[in-house]
Amino acid sequence: MLATLSGLFENDYDDEGFRTCSVTGLEIHRSAEVHVKLFGLTAVIALIVGGVFALTVALTRWEVIGLVGEFDGYYRHLSMHAWNILIFWMVFMEIAILYVGGSMVLGRRLPFTSLAKVGYVLMLAGALGINYFIWTLSGGSDAPLLTAYVPLDVPPGFYASSIVFLLGATVAALPFLLTLWYEKRGNWSATLPLVTFGAFATFIIAVQAILGGLVAFSYALVWQVGLIDSINTGIYRQLYWIIGHGSQQINLLAMITVWYFLTHVVGGAVVVSEKISRSAFILYLFFINLGAAHHLMVDPGLSVEWRIFNTSYAFYGAALASMIHAFAIPAGLEAGRRQRGLGGGLFGWLTSAPWRNPIFASTIFSIIMFGFLGGISGVLMGQLQLNMTWHNTYATVGHFHATVALGTTLAFMGLVFFVIKTMFQRNFISDRLALLVPYGYSAAMGIAVLVMMYVGILFGVPRRTSEVVSNIPGSDFSLSAAEPLFWLIGPMTVLAVLVGVVFVLVAVGSLLLGSRTDSDDDRELLPDGGLRPDGGESVHAVEMRGTFTLCLIFMATFVAMYVLNWFLLTQLWEIGA
């Protein structure tokens, strides 16, 4: 058993510790690869734990089943689901992505691996601590959920564990920064590859977010243990959402970096404009964390001007950046494939693509679902007045499941499959089951997410509650009118979790039982013509009208949803000064 596990971390390295990847051609050092595998595997374990609780939460909100009751620990289950999936599955994976985007793409060793190990241990300790303090809640203690809002009675150990986790993430990210430092010191004027540039932007956003989190949790901790007498609810919320939304922006940038990487390696995409894509990353740096205030739009005590600046104007800067990537990535795929002669007509470049490759399918569905479902709902929710109809409803849950559970998770699942093939050099134990993952997950989760948004906006079903559709205790009122839609949400979320199980089985099974890949398998992974084709016209001469059409469809959907939501708002009674 131990031999199998340690065998997973071994590849054929030369005397210096390097090997050349037979798929990407990258020079990979053992120090980087071992740590990528370590953080990646830990991320998948967190996904499994979070996925178990996804099932219990889904079966409770489907009140026909109502698995875990209000007083039987529903909120503990919800907290376990939130932290394991949204934070641990994501952040462990993102450290791995930093090491890939840094050391691997640049062909360097990972410097100061001791920092990587210390960071890992701290992150693991923090994660285990958080799981422990949530699971052992009793009596009068309140579950933290994701946000641990003061002044709920959350155990101090929870806040302490969060601080340990964040410190660990900071330490684990340092080798990435040092990699860039050494690279730049050696060659100051050379340009970093786009993927590395994206990873660097991710790192900067992460530092901003983590600093905010450390302050927020320390503030709550010193109050919880009695070192300060009182705590201000609004200030905690503002501090919390720096990490609360900041962590989601880390997910966004990491996911976009993965999109560029995988569409290139597996789909044959090129970068249509380095300047445009890099400018978009820079826009994120300036605007995205300001936009975190969009969680505070229906909070008392914040001026209208402050709320509008942060959530409208600042966020439009970030939204512009997202639109740039939303065009550049499919355009890169279209231009790259047309250059290779792989696409005729409007969409031939897309339909001739390797859809039977689960890595490609995961990436493309991630892009489509994130954009149409997650992106549009995010901008809508972020309008000051529209927020009143979205805040704390199930529509919010639909939004962040579209972005994180569907978009980022699917992209990361594709990345795990890619890592299995290239770093662990194993074939899938079942190609069919591997292919089921992106198709099945997008279908099930996509429908679930769409209907979640409907029940939130159409019926105002609240989030963060165990029972409201079948019955509100002590009242004759209930949101029973929404029940037909829950007959879609319930089965679809359960189906999505089951597909997640298939993902884990394929991933773990392939690692343990899969055959070694050979050069034929490597070639199948790459697009026709290999990674860098010869000849073809210049990318600037290639048509991109397929992408343009898709963007027009996207904008049409956006405008329709925008108008619809504002119209519904104006049908309400008069509210506000």
Binding site: E70, G234, V304, I457, P462, L572, E574, I575
Partner: protein, 167 residues
């Protein structure tokens, strides 16, 4: 949308005051002492409340309405308001954060949500046009028992209001 704050009718905007939760509760109690009472049957049947009826529904003495979220009930609810009249809804909380989520019974898709803090009093003016029973649910997690937190706000037709509240 900053333009909408000028020409739009639905904005999450209102005066905020820093308060002590106990202080807000005192304001709520003073308001309740001054307030009249009526019954659900009186509202449903469009008549004055009868002596022997249970009269649990508050009738605001003026244009201010106090709503205080606390684990796990809404202080100040149920309340009866007049349709078409602007009221100042004073939102506050006794202990932890709560979510003020309100909708009319006959039109569930017309719903809005506001956050309530325990150290803040937020005065949000509202004018309800359609007579109906509006249901308030808490949609911010506030502890185990949060799912039981609901209350009612009755909006009565302007022609019937004076009769129904017993004036």
């Amino acid at each position: 949308m900053s333009g909408f704050t000028r020409f739009g009718d639905q904005n999450p905007v209102g005066e905020t005051y820093e308060v002590d939760p106990a202080g807000f509760e005192a304001s709520l109690d003073a308001y309740r002492d001054e307030a009249g009472r009526t019954s659900a049957d009186a509202i449903n049947e469009g008549r004055p409340p009868e002596e022997d009826e249970r009269q649990r529904i508050i009738v605001p003495p003026g244009d201010s309405v106090y709503v205080m979220g606390r684990q796990f009930t809404w202080g100040g609810l149920p309340v009866a308001l007049e349709a078409g009249r602007e009221y100042d809804i004073h939102l506050g909380a006794r202990d932890v954060q709560h979510g003020f989520s309100i909708r009319p019974e006959q039109s569930l898709s017309q719903q809005i949500n506001l956050q309530i803090f325990p150290d803040t009093e937020w005065v949000v003016p509202m004018t309800f046009e359609d007579p109906d029973e509006y249901h308030v649910i808490c949609n911010e997690f506030c502890g185990a028992g949060h799912a039981t937190m609901s209350g009612s706000l009755f909006v009565v037709d302007a022609d019937e209001y004076d009769t129904v509240v017993g004036n």
